[in-house]
Symmetry: C2
Subunit: 194 residues, 2 copies
């Protein structure tokens, strides 16, 4: 009985996976190194063998979230939805990716997927439009996700029976198609050019 007696012995991957699971349970604000350590039955200082700082751990989590973004979706809108949905996969995922991206840590996978989709569509300023769409998606998703969670637990001024999330999908689609350029706008079919 030497293999799984009860000693833990973790590595980078097991720490990150445990942290990601804890993120879903308690949210980013309560995701502390001490809580992660407790979940692994380990002293807080043990985490610093695997990650040099909390920031590095968070960057790893952000990378795992963006890594699940599907490449080569059909069209810019579908790609943008893929990014948004990846952010929504984990609690506070948008906020986490936004702040990590701002500090220029973590990969730029989302950015590259977006510009690829734009180039495939023949957009003129693929790089600039890709950046703009990414900024919009991150801002939008951060706002919506925080609001969604605040709604589910009643901790805000409830304005009657109105669902605050209603209409936000419409705003998202409008935003992405507008930023992508006239080519992929759904309401106005592209007029054949001479």
């Amino acid at each position: 009985m030497s293999p799984e007696t009860n000693q833990a012995r973790h590595d980078r991957d097991s720490v990150a996976r445990s942290a990601l699971a804890l993120l879903d349970e308690v949210g980013l604000a309560d995701l502390s190194m001490r809580r992660i350590a407790a979940r692994l039955d380990v002293q807080p200082s043990a985490l610093y063998w695997h990650f040099t700082s909390k920031q590095e751990l968070l960057a790893e989590l952000a990378d795992r979230i963006t890594a699940s973004i599907p490449r080569g979706s059909d069209g810019v809108l579908a790609t943008a939805r893929g990014i948004r949905d990846a952010l929504f996969t984990h609690r506070d995922g948008a906020e986490l990716v936004l702040s990590t991206y701002a500090l220029q840590l973590g990969s730029s996978h989302a950015q590259s997927v977006l510009t690829a989709a734009l180039e495939a569509h023949g957009a003129p300023d693929a790089a600039d439009r890709g950046a703009a769409i990414l900024h919009f998606v991150l801002g939008h998703a951060t706002l919506v996700q925080q609001r969604m969670h605040a709604d589910s637990h009643g901790a805000l001024p409830t304005a009657g029976e109105i669902d605050v999330t209603a209409g936000l999908d419409r705003v998202f689609d409008l935003g992405v198609t507008a930023l992508a350029g006239v080519l992929s706008a759904p309401a106005t079919p592209p007029r054949a050019r001479a």
Copy 2:
């Protein structure tokens, strides 16, 4: 010599102003209740006479930042720039307003100024476009502001001599004009309708 002997005696306004000044010096991450209290020569617990929580204080700061957004600028792009510049007026202003707005605390002054500008321009979906532009501006400004400050202090992977801020103004203008609708696009002058 009774008026200004040395006793402090503060109110809501003096606390908020001191906190805003400290924000510019140390940034949002290091803006603690204890630091604000120290700056006012007061015990940390004294702050809770004026604000029920740190979150309420931060919401007040966010309101003061957005209150400086000018109403009735000429055009949607100018209005959006006014919002961005107001966020840039204080260190981490964009991040602060974004997170406060997400929690649905603080005023929606920025939102209303934007939709007003859009309606004045005769945009069809003024409310939706206003929301989309606000999400874009908040996401964009948060990203840019964090990157700007990381640049000025050398704490990131410097990719040669390239200025990271270069081209971001272009992305901002492109994003806002695209989201506002074809009417106010600068590169393509509005073709006279029949």
